[in-house]
């Protein structure tokens, strides 16, 4: 990294630090009751305390687990279904329009429906998350598989590759960029659904924790929980981006 870039990054971090400082000052002297706006110091200590003495670690783990399991399930089913639909012209003509009809419905609207069908246990929440997160992956896979470079399909024909082999060795790898982008969106969706699911069903997890903190006016705990959720979202996204970068390293510079 060049010197000027390091300087700007440092400056940028500095601005954030200033904003946090501003938050502290407002919390201490701004006249807003601590019950609504705890200072960063109290949020931080609630965070540390929650991990050391409380069950914040368990709760985070529960949410993360739900998020990941739901997302993995959604990705696998989404890729398989998407590959089957995308690679068959018939399927594309008959099935794809139906998918498009369902697309504008916010995923959260499905939650009550699926919960009504499947009940309120912990495992069901994971399944609901999976059903909700499937859409970005499914649509991305259909898109990718149906728009493979035609020349590559001809290469496959010329080499007399069968349909399954073509799907596995040409269509799916060629759709990697689309599928990975869809999976990244799917991960964001699964975090959101995990939080909502926990709020709706009172299942153990960060979503439930922050809702309870809000109801009992424990603002420091609330902020700590929100920060934690933001961190989970950020870290999982960064990890996925790095994986994506590695998997797509063959792309044109």
């Amino acid at each position: 990294m060049s010197a000027s870039r390091i300087m700007w990054t440092a400056g940028s971090v500095g601005v954030t630090a200033l904003l946090v400082l501003g938050w502290q000052i407002i919390a201490n002297y701004g006249g807003i009751p601590q019950v609504f706006l705890p200072g960063p110091d109290r949020a931080w200590s609630a965070l540390v305390d929650g991990f050391a003495n409380g069950d914040l670690a368990e709760l985070s783990l529960a949410t993360i687990e739900r998020m990941i399991y739901g997302w993995v399930l959604a990705s696998i089913v989404g890729i398989v279904l998407g590959a089957l639909i995308g690679s068959s012209r018939i399927a594309r003509e008959y099935v794809a329009p139906m998918l498009e009809m369902v697309r504008p419905i916010p995923v959260s609207a499905f939650m009550p429906v699926v919960i009504a069908f499947l009940g309120l246990t912990g495992a069901m929440v994971t399944i609901v998350i999976a059903i909700g997160s499937i859409w970005p992956v499914l649509l991305a896979t259909v898109q990718g598989v149906s728009s493979v470079e035609p020349r590559l399909m001809e290469v496959a024909r010329s080499l007399r590759m069968g349909r399954l082999e073509t799907l596995w060795k040409i269509a799916l790898p060629s759709s990697q960029p689309d599928i990975l982008a869809g999976m990244r969106i799917g991960l964001t969706v699964s975090l959101i659904l995990a939080v909502i699911g926990e709020m709706l069903t009172s299942e153990n997890g960060l979503g439930w924790h922050v809702l309870m903190a809000a109801r009992s006016f424990r603002s420091a705990d609330l902020f700590a929980g929100v920060i934690l959720l933001g961190l989970i979202g950020l870290v999982s996204n960064v990890i996925l981006q790095e994986i994506e970068r590695y998997m797509l390293r063959w792309r044109r510079r």
């Binding site: 020349r151 001809e154 290469v155 024909r157 010329s158 080499l159 040409i170 790898p173 390293r249 792309r251």
Partner: protein
């Protein structure tokens, strides 16, 4: 010096009364052509003469609207195992997510070669095309000429008896083109592979081939077939100065100009 192969007598590929339409546009009319084993046949002609369509028919990628395309005496019903096709747009014909070795491997995998036998074969093929040091590079990291050589290696991996090449060097610079021309001659010299080569470059057609088929456009028809009367050993400098080369060149140029008129 690279050598041009000489033909065997049995017809390997034959076109019999082939006509082809695309929708209601006539593309090819009355194509009758035989290609013998180990021949190097170049197809030339202006745009719209259907030379790529002809090639794709042999490649099994296209069936003629009427007439018969036969290989080894049997009608072609799809891509044949012993016929490999080399595309002009190499950047789109290579799998960008596989390395050079991976791309060559694709042909071996498609042919059912067991995994442990693939490694040595890939290494051998890449060495043959001079890319031994680039086996682990992705196409995006290779130059145009190198990418085309990967495609050559992939085609050779099929152990083809017929190599179909669709303007393979058209998108490359002159120097790379010339070195790849010699390389092709060298590669097929030992194996006696039959080659059908489509090109816009008349000199290239004469340099490489022992027969040049000239086509008229709209619709594509065979206008004339020239025999290339040049010594088997070709050299970029001396062959191109030979009187027969220049004569053929003149004939072809005149013919093409007439055809365009």
């Amino acid at each position: 010096m690279p050598t041009v192969s000489h033909a065997d007598s049995a017809p390997l590929i034959s076109f019999r009364d082939v006509n082809h339409d695309f929708g209601n546009r006539p593309i090819l009319r009355n194509i009758n052509l035989t290609v013998r084993k180990s021949e190097f046949v170049c197809l030339v002609g202006p745009s719209g003469c259907g030379k790529t369509t002809l090639l794709r028919m042999i490649g099994g990628l296209l069936a003629p609207t009427s007439g018969e395309v036969a290989f080894n005496g049997h009608r072609l019903n799809g891509p044949a195992k012993e016929i490999s096709f080399m595309f002009q747009d190499y950047s789109k014909a290579l799998l960008p997510w596989r390395t050079a070795a991976g791309n060559v491997s694709l042909a071996l995998e498609a042919n059912g070669v067991p995994a442990r036998k693939r490694g040595p074969r890939i290494a051998e093929l890449l060495k043959k095309v001079g890319l031994a040091n680039h086996a682990e590079h992705f196409p995006a990291q290779l130059s145009g000429g190198m990418q085309q050589r990967v495609q050559i290696a992939r085609c050779l991996a099929q152990d083809p008896s017929v190599l179909l090449m669709d303007e393979p060097f058209g998108a490359l610079d002159a120097m790379t083109r010339q070195s790849l021309q010699d390389e092709i001659l060298r590669l097929i010299a030992a194996s006696g592979t039959t080659v059908l080569f489509v090109t816009h470059d008349l000199e290239e057609a004469i340099y490489l081939g022992n027969r040049v088929v000239a086509l008229y456009p709209n619709p594509g028809r065979i206008a004339q077939i020239f025999d290339v009367d040049l010594p088997a050993k070709r050299d970029q400098l001396t062959t191109r100065e030979q009187p027969n080369f220049l004569r053929l060149r003149r004939e072809l140029y005149d013919f093409v100009r007439e055809g365009e008129a």
